[in-house]
Every structure is written in structure tokens, then in C-alpha cells.
Symmetry: C2
Subunit: 650 residues, 2 copies
């Protein structure tokens, strides 16, 4: 086998490696530490390097990570590039893990440290703890996988039934299942483990219809070690929660950015990538990588072994759910918008590359339609909408807005394409609700008061800040009822930039970057369109149901605004209907909460399946009045303020 010499710049570190070694491995051998979020799978795009001398061309699957000029200039992904001749390689600063940061740690630790630095340090609002267990009676606590400890009587000539029968006889004494299913691999374990453990074993059971499904046989008593993970598979953010399946307690929560973002910002562009020249496999690996990193991080932080994690419940939109399972999402995008499946089968986590217990299972919550996914079902579960006689409404605001209205007798849903404005997308200073984001704004007499997440200098503005800002601009009459700047106004914060009028939220000396943090007319236009799409969808669905807003007992608002939403201002700008404010509740990440409820209770999972099959989804594109409602909503708060927003005064 041939050897080649690789020189890594700028430090001129040299190394000799075998033919076909990946450049990432070569760098590791040379003591040059490259970023790698995905562990070398070619899906995170973090190990970008530039080949200066010698030839190494970009792998076709990673081409999406580079612009045309970058490809021409020899940019490649180190992990996807096998060494086939002598090379000189330049490590750009963004791909480098600085040694001083993590001095003295092993390479694995360096990688781990760096990976952890990519985490979002996601935290849930306090009220989440109220939902640790479903609010149904405690008897409904039945995790997706439970462990049962058994002490079997040793066989005698008068009681020589088979090992399986002996085990099931004891299981029947403790559980209500009439019969049990067992895999060949558990059968193989059973013989040895019963005899090694002195006939004392712990059985890990899931449920399959009315049968117990035996997932694992362990020696001795391991019932204290049984954990599950609930995952919200968001298009932008992936959040995972670790739960103790013996107690129902939540042990930790972590989030990271969906690695698929490199292949497209929203679901439509990712479908276009997969169904065009791209590869479903890469996108699946990306999301599996996200989940594996979160699980590993949570397990390490809590000192839990990966093998003791026995099940996962995931909630995501229909496209994310399909890609996670490796199913083609192509027909979701095209009229008539048909997904492959709505009721995802419970499958072995190993089958899709998720590293928990090798016998562990993953259940993806069912979808309702192409644009109403398991995340919405989770939201309905989290808000107990299908349990109550009162009619309530769930509004989940993301790039796609999903609305559900109903009660324990009927449920209606619809979705509207809202655009990424409320998630900080498509705007010069927009950002997610993370550290440095302005999340609260108050405009008062020409002064702007704001608060950032983490109380640091502002780096941008997130959804909740934007709602406050638009409300403040309207209330102070800096923008008009149609959302346009009143150009005649004298205000030292108002200036004319490259792209028209801009309003200065924070002056250069206040911000982290030293640049002025502004909102431009185009930004406001984006927000106006987003809020109009969402309000029009709510209004259309209410009309479709033959109701009025005041018949809603409750409106639950979910979404990635951050931990805060000023409801008064959200109503004031015309995003949410004008009903008594105490009837509007911000519920945060209801997708994660519903997933956890299903993880902790098979009955909740079954209810989720029933909801997905009984809900009536209304295609707004077929609903003639939607366009009119949308046009009427492109005002602050609405063109028909007197009838629809009587309490809003400014």
C-alpha cells in the first residue's frame, strides 16, 4: 500500500498516511484538529479545507456545501476526501479547533468539547415541569418500554414447561397482556441468561397492539436503569429530552441546529435537494447525526449508559418524519401533496442508525397530512385539546404555521406557509431565540428599551422581539396601518439606507458587532406577510367551523419564539385574535411536550394515533375565501379593526 505526504497549512504540519486515508484522519494524525459535528459522515460540512497543491476533487455528495468559486479554488470536505497523492492543504480558521481552547484533551474529547459547543443549551420554561407526567390519572403511566424484574422458579420434572412459558407465566402475574411476542435474538439470549442469573432476569417490554413485545432480556435486576428520549425534529432546531422511564422524571434537555440546513433552509428546498440531484441518504444521516449527538450528550451529562436507553418518541413535520425514516418525501411537495405514510411503524432504532440499546425502538408520531405532521399531533396532545368538551385552538407558528381548532368531539386543522420571519429568517438582523437575541422591545417617546437573551449586548432580534418591535412602531405611529414607514416623520432613529427606509433599534455602540441593529422596510413587509398568512388561516378555519373567535375557550400559541411572548402585543399587531388575554396561553415547544407524553404513556400514543386519523384537514389552497382573508390581514392589526380587533387601541 502506498504512502503519501500531507502538509497542513498555515502551520506546515507534516504527516505521512496510507493511500485512501481520509484527510480528516490525516489531520488528526498530524495533530491538526478539524471541526466535525457529524463524526465524518459528510453531512455537517464543518471540516471544509482548501487543497493548495496536488489534486483532490470535491465529492459529489458534498458539493452543496460549496459555492462555485470555492469548488474552483479546491475547497473540499476533509472527511469525504481520500488521500491519493501528496497534498498541501490549507485549514481555514472556521474549520479549526484552536488548540489552546482544549489543550491537553484527547482528540475524542476535543471533538466532544467542540460538538458540545454547538449545542443550543436549550431550556424549557418552568411550566414544563407541570407536564412531567400526563395529567391523566397516574394509572396511565405506561412508558413505551418498561422493565419488569422476574424471579422464576427453577424447572423440575413436574414443572418443565419451556423457558418462554416460564417467563410469560410470571409476566402474566404482573402485567395485563394476554400474550407476548419475542424475537429470535431475545430467544437466543433467554437460554443463557436464565441459567447464568440463577433464574433472575429483567425483561424489557414494549407494547404491540394488545400484546407485550419483549425487546430485551437482562440478567439480574436492572429496573432502575431504563431511559427514553423524546425528540422534537424541527426543520431548523432539533431538541431532545431524556426521561427516566421508571419515575417519569425529565433528566435533561438539549438542542442543536438541524444539520440538514446545509441542504436547504426549509422543507421545500430540502425536498427539492433530495428529489433533484441530491441524496435522501445524506439528509437522513444528517438528522440521525443530530439525534445521536443529543442522546450522547444527555447520556454523558447524566452518567447514563447508551444501552440503558430503550426507546425514543420523535415528533416532526411530515417531511422531517419521512426523511428520518429514510422515506422519499418527493410527492409531499407536488400537487396533490401525498405523503408515503401517516402512521409510521414502530421500528428498531438501529435500523435507521440511531445509537441507543441495540434492541431499542423508535416511534415517530403520526402525521395528519403533507403539511400537518406529528409535531401538530404532539401539540394537540400536549394541550389536551381532544380531552376537553370546550373548543380550543392551537396555533403553532414556524416557517409553516399550523392551526388546529376543536374539542373532544371534532378537530379541524390547516396549515399556512408563513415564511421564516418569526424565526428570524430572511432578515438582515433576524436570528433564532438564542443568546444575544433581543426578545423584548418597548418603544417609548423616541427611546427603545430592549432585553436580550442572556442579558448580553444584542447580536440580532428574534420572533418575540419582532412582535414587540412592530407593535411599538405601529403604536408610536412610526409605521402606518399598512406597515409602511411614515417617511414624513422626524425621528433620529429613522434613516434611509441602501434598501430604503430603516429604523435603528440599537445604535452601533450598543451592539456586539459595533454595527447599528436596524429593521428595514423589506423586513417589516416580510413580517406583515407572515402575520397575515397566519391570521388569515386562523380566521378561515374558524369560519369553516362556523364559529366566532369568542367561542374559543382557549388559544394555545406554540413556536420557536423563545421563552417569552407578549400576548398583548401579538394581538395588538394582528397576529392573534382579539379575545380576552387570559384565554391566550403561550405553550412553547408543544411538539417536544407531546412527544414526551407519548414516551411516558402508551395510552397517549394511542390517542395521538386516533387524533391523526380523525382530524379533518382543510386545504386552504382550495378554500376560496382564504385569499380575501389574507389581503384583509395585511394591515395593523387588520383592515376590519372595529369588528375583529375592538380592544386594540393605538
Amino acid at each position: 500500500m502506498k504512502n503519501y505526504k500531507i502538509i497542513f497549512l498555515p502551520d506546515r504540519k507534516e504527516v505521512e498516511v496510507n493511500e485512501e486515508t481520509s484527510l480528516l484522519k490525516a489531520a488528526e494524525k498530524a495533530g491538526v484538529y478539524l471541526n466535525s459535528l457529524c463524526g465524518g459522515e459528510g453531512v455537517c460540512g464543518k471540516c471544509r479545507v482548501q487543497v493548495i497543491k496536488g489534486k483532490a476533487s470535491v465529492d459529489k455528495n458534498s458539493i452543496a456545501f460549496f459555492r462555485k468559486e470555492e469548488i474552483e479554488n479546491g475547497y473540499i470536505l476533509a472527511c469525504q476526501t481520500p488521500v491519493r497523492e501528496n497534498l498541501e492543504v490549507l485549514i481555514p480558521p472556521e474549520s479549526r479547533i484552536e488548540e489552546e481552547q482544549i489543550l491537553g484533551e484527547s482528540f475524542e474529547n476535543k471533538q466532544k468539547t467542540w460538538r458540545e459547543s454547538s449545542l443550543l443549551h436549550y431550556s424549557e420554561p418552568d411550566w414544563v415541569s407541570l407536564h412531567k407526567r400526563p395529567s391523566d390519572p397516574a394509572s396511565l403511566f405506561e412508558p413505551l418500554a418498561s422493565k419488569i424484574y422476574l424471579e422464576l422458579p427453577e424447572p423440575t420434572i413436574d414443572d418443565n414447561i419451556p423457558d418462554t412459558g416460564r417467563m410469560m407465566r410470571e409476566l402474566r402475574k404482573k402485567l395485563k397482556y394476554s400474550s407476548f411476542e419475542i424475537t429470535l435474538s431475545c430467544l437466543k439470549d433467554l437460554f443463557i441468561k436464565l441459567r447464568h442469573s440463577d433464574w433472575k432476569i429483567t425483561v424489557t417490554l414494549s407494547r404491540h397492539n394488545d400484546m407485550g413485545q419483549i425487546l430485551q432480556i437482562e440478567e439480574g435486576n436492572t429496573v432502575d436503569r431504563n431511559y427514553g428520549v423524546a425528540v422534537d425534529v424541527g426543520t431548523t432546531t432539533v431538541v431532545a429530552q431524556l426521561a427516566d422511564l421508571k419515575t417519569g422524571n425529565v433528566l435533561g434537555v438539549e438542542g442543536n441546529h438541524n444539520l440538514q440546513a446545509h441542504y436547504g433552509e426549509d422543507v421545500l428546498s430540502r425536498i427539492a435537494y433530495v428529489c433533484g440531484k441530491g441524496s435522501l441518504d445524506l439528509l437522513q444521516k444528517a438528522i440521525v447525526g443530530n439525534i445521536n449527538v443529543l442522546i450522547q450528550t444527555l447520556a454523558t451529562a447524566k452518567g447514563i449508559k447508551i444501552e440503558d436507553i430503550t426507546c425514543i418518541v420523535a415528533a416532526g413535520n411530515t417531511t422531517m418524519s419521512h426523511i428520518l425514516l429514510g422515506l422519499m418525501p418527493c410527492s409531499i411537495r407536488d400537487d396533490p401533496y401525498v405523503p408515503t405514510v401517516d402512521l409510521y411503524p414502530s421500528i428498531s432504532a438501529k435500523e435507521i442508525g440511531i445509537t441507543i440499546n441495540p434492541q431499542g425502538v423508535i416511534q415517530v408520531l403520526p402525521s395528519i397530512a403533507s403539511y400537518i405532521g406529528g409535531d401538530t399531533v404532539a401539540g394537540v396532545l400536549a394541550c389536551h385539546m381532544a380531552d376537553k368538551p370546550e373548543t380550543t385552538c392551537l396555533i403553532d407558528i414556524g416557517t409553516n404555521g399550523e392551526i388546529v381548532i376543536g374539542n373532544n368531539e371534532w378537530l379541524l386543522s390547516c396549515s399556512a406557509s408563513a415564511g421564516p420571519a418569526f424565526e428570524g429568517g430572511d432578515m438582515r438582523w433576524g436570528m433564532r431565540a438564542t443568546r444575544g437575541a433581543i426578545q423584548q422591545v418597548e418603544i417609548d417617546d423616541g427611546k427603545v428599551h430592549y432585553e436580550t437573551i442572556g442579558k448580553v449586548k444584542p447580536r440580532g432580534i428574534c420572533g418575540s422581539g419582532l412582535i414587540d418591535l412592530i407593535y411599538g412602531l405601529a403604536k408610536n405611529r412610526i409605521i402606518d396601518i399598512d406597515g409602511k414607514f411614515r417617511s414624513s416623520l422626524q425621528d433620529r432613529r429613522l434613516l434611509c439606507g441602501e434598501n430604503g427606509m430603516e429604523y435603528i433599534v440599537a445604535f452601533p455602540e450598543e451592539t456586539e458587532t459595533g454595527e447599528a441593529l436596524t429593521i428595514a422596510q423589506t423586513d417589516i413587509d416580510n413580517i406583515m406577510r407572515s402575520k397575515a398568512a397566519i391570521f388569515a388561516a386562523i380566521k378561515s378555519l374558524i369560519d369553516y367551523a362556523g364559529l366566532t373567535f369568542d367561542q374559543l375557550e382557549k388559544i394555545y400559541v406554540a413556536g420557536g419564539f423563545g421563552n417569552y411572548l407578549n400576548i398583548e402585543k401579538a394581538v395588538g399587531m394582528g397576529l392573534l385574535p382579539d379575545i380576552p388575554r387570559e384565554r391566550i396561553e403561550f405553550v412553547g415547544n408543544s411538539s417536544l411536550m407531546g412527544a414526551r407524553m407519548a414516551l411516558l404513556s402508551f395510552h397517549v400514543l394511542e390517542k395521538g394515533i386516533a387524533i391523526s386519523q380523525s382530524i379533518t384537514n382543510v386545504e386552504l389552497s382550495k378554500f376560496a375565501l382564504f385569499a380575501d382573508e389574507y389581503m384583509a390581514s395585511l394591515y395593523l392589526p387588520h383592515i376590519d379593526r372595529e369588528r375583529l380587533f375592538p380592544s386594540v387601541k393605538y
Copy 2:
């Protein structure tokens, strides 16, 4: 990589091969064709060669194929021996496929021809055709896997349910299942195949409790191509039958010798091998090899693609069933005789290495106890014992004899270790019921009339011939009531050999080998013990049930006697109870028949499961009177002839 020179003797054919090439491959390259039944898995022991020069030591897993002297003399299995230096190898005649036999054929064909030459050319008695379908109403015809052709309406915006829902909606119109299960791999197929096939697909369905289990999605209409295989996994002989699952017709039947025989003749010695120094894996590979060869042979003969074989039902004793599935049989052998499992799960055939459709399933019929297996359940099914109000009895005579008595309200079973005498084992001239075996004997006035299978010169004597022979010897008073030769007798056929008295059945000039074919006193003693064990078991079970023999409406006799059994003589020698002869029926291979019935009807399979769970197994070792019954049965026909065998006169 290094090359080595191998010289094959006696023809001195030379060849150069890479290091680590197997000697079997080297021989192939040199144009020397070695026997290989198992295709190089190291389990058939047919490719024995002797290393004359150079060093190559016997693989530890194949050591069981050789005697001590053979190992010392350099015998090895060619397929399990990697080349690591220059060698000279002698091919013994028995390992060689003579070129003239198969001149001009490719190596694969030569191997195939040779493999086919190992087949037993098994044929069923004519009456089997009566059982092509279970005799239950035709509506019960529901093969383990069925194919359904669907033409789905294309989705529109008004009917845009998911692909799975669309498929299941049509399936529900044709089938009675309320719900369907689908695997991830079928889901992946579904998207593409629906759209490639213009929404016309064929779904292969199995049944899982009350749900339809979708095994496969194919484009277009393939309902005419759906086949299944029923297998009788005997300790000595493996027999497979190919059935058309659309019509229920049997297309062919083939048998071969269980390759596990190299690791032990009977189940006890094979368990001892597996649980001692041996390997379960090797024995599993051996039986899987048997089944794969039979399936391949049947498919080729009928021009059927392996992919169109979608399911298998196998029936075997408890040990064979465990080994086939890769489950440890060790505890079966030891008091208190506990198997791992009685209800074998339906599993993917691929999981155990059986080559049919990659999504195809195998169902092993349930066992009753450690020594009453799925072959007995199959026998009960084949004889419809559990369907009839009349009390009947099944006697399956093999190395282990299994007895079942009962009706549609109760069933009792027991097993007795009979020894291999009736299968031709443990005797100088005993042989299986194959070509050249004496299967019928008549002794008349000092003359012996016999008939061999294939009407050729005799090579030995099989079970049915032995029964005739013992009866003839007793009737002609050549042996006494206790089975001992009457030494005082003058008969030119009676002589004193090395091991005592012998009776000449065929003189040297009559036989294939040119040696006299005789039965010795020790042989007769063996048969006496076997018949006593079986009759004592029947008598004990009848007593246990509180019945008498004349209360049996029918006795079904199954076993590997061949295609023939003289019932009069079997009663006459005291093997079968003395009831009116028309009530005794020889049913041949009832294990295979029951397996085929279960293959063709899920309802029969369910009945088999119910039988296995409801039958009461009586441990004869715990039954005090069994020993007395055995002693009393060591006579011809019985010590209590007047009461138990009133009709037997000689």
C-alpha cells in the same frame, strides 16, 4: 500478496493461487472437481482431501469429520483450509466428481449435478394427493402468504391520503383484516413502485394475529407467482414439498439426508456435540444447507424463481426445531428436559440463512415438550385427530416413538426412546428405506421370498422388511416367543457366526455385495427392545386415559418405514395393538403432510398452535407401570397374548 503452488494428486494437476485461497477454490481452478454438498460451508464433510507434502492442519470445527488416524495422516476439509504454503494434495476417490460423469458441464453445473445425485428421490404414497388441500371447507384455504393485486385510483387534491392509506383502503375491500402492518423496507418500496407501475401493484401479505402483515410490494400483477415450501426436518431425512400458493397444488417433493448426521446419528448425540466442544452454528448451517439445496432443486425443476417463494412451514422434533432457529438445545437433554421455547415466532427466512424471497417468512410448527415436537403436532393435524369426536391414536415410529391419543375434546401424548432399529440403525444389514432395501419378506417352508425397493439386488433390509422378517421367523417357529433362535432347529439358513446365531435372509449369490445378508440374534434383540418400548408406550397411554384398545376408532401409523407397511404382520409381532385391521392406517410422513396443511391454511396453523398448548404430555419416566409394560412386551407378540392379541395365531 504471495502466491503458492498446489499439486493435486493422483493426476498431478498444478495450479498457482493467492495466499489464503481455500483449497476447494484452488482445486476448482486446477480443474479438479471436488464434492461439496454444502457449498463450502464446512458442514457436509464431502470435500475430504489428504495433504501429502506441506502443512495444513484440520480446522477445529471440522475435526468431527475425521478419525484420529486420518487427522494424523493429514486429512482436512478442502473448503475449510486456506493455502499458506506450497502443497501436494491427494484427492481420495470418494471426494472426486469423475469428469466423465458430467463432461462438458460448467463447474456450477457439475456441483449441481452432484448435489442432485445426493437427493433421495423421495416420493409420497398416492393417498397424499387426497390431502392436497385440508379437507376442511375450501373457504379455509388461506396460505401463510397470499398475493393480492390492486389497481389504485391515482391521488387527486380531493383524495390525497397517504400511499399507505390508499393501498390499505383497497386491501380492506378485498380482505377481512381490520388493520395492516408494514415494514420500513416495504414503505421504502411503496413510493417508487406505485409511481413506476401506474398505481398497479401486487401486495404479498402474511397474517399476524388478526392483522395483515405486508411482506412485499411488487409492480404490476404477479399473483400467479406465489409459492411456498413445507419441510419435514427429520433427524435423519429432510423432505421438502413445493406448493403453488395460488391453487394449493403440490408441484414437487424432494428429500436428502440431514447433513448434521456427521455430528451425531441421533438427537442426543447432536445435542452432546453442540453443548460439548462443538458449535451450534455448524449444525444450524448444516440443516439450513439441506433446506436450501432442496428448495433450489425444486425451484429449478419447476422453472420457478427463488424470489417467488414467499413462505416456509417447517415441522421437526423439538431439538431439530431449536437448532434450525439457532437456539441452544442443551437443556432438552438433561433432567428436567426443558426446551427454550414451544411457540416459535414467525421470522424472516433470511434471518437464519434460508434463501427464498428476501422478505419471505418461515414458521416452525410449535412443540409440545422436549421429546414431542412440531412433527407430532403436524401428524395430529394431518390425521384430523382434533377435529373428530371419535377417539383415535397416532403412532409415529422413529428413533424416538411418539404416541398421541385423543379426540376433539382432549389429547394425550407421550414419547418413548425406541432406538434406531426400525430405521435400519444399529444392525449389520439394516438400512433406510431406499433403493436396494428389502421392504417385504415372506418365509414359507424354509424359503425366503423378498422384494426390494427398485426391484434390484438386495443391499440391506429396512423397517418394513424387518417387521415382516421377525413375524415370519416367529410364525415359522425359527425364533421363540422371547425372540431367541431355537438353537435345536435344523435349517440350512441358520448358522453360528462370530456373534452367535444368524439367519440368512439372502444368500451371497443373491446380493449386490456378494455377501450373505443375515439377521443375527443381537439384531433381533434390538428390534424386540424397540417394539417393546413402542407397544409399552401405547399401552401405558391407553391405561392412563382409562381406555381399552377397542375404544380406538382408528390407529394412524406414521414413520420412515418406506412406502409400505404390512399391518397384519406389525400386529402379529406385537408392535401395534390387536384391533380390527381396517381400523389401522399407515399414513407415511404425516409430519410433512401437516406442515403442508399449515402452509396452505393459516387456520390449520392456528389449530396446530392450539393443539400444542392444550395437549397433555405424559412423562413415561414418571409413570410407574411403564417398566412393567415394557417387560411384558419383550415377547412375540406379548406375554399376555390371550388378552391383548387374541387374533394373533402362530
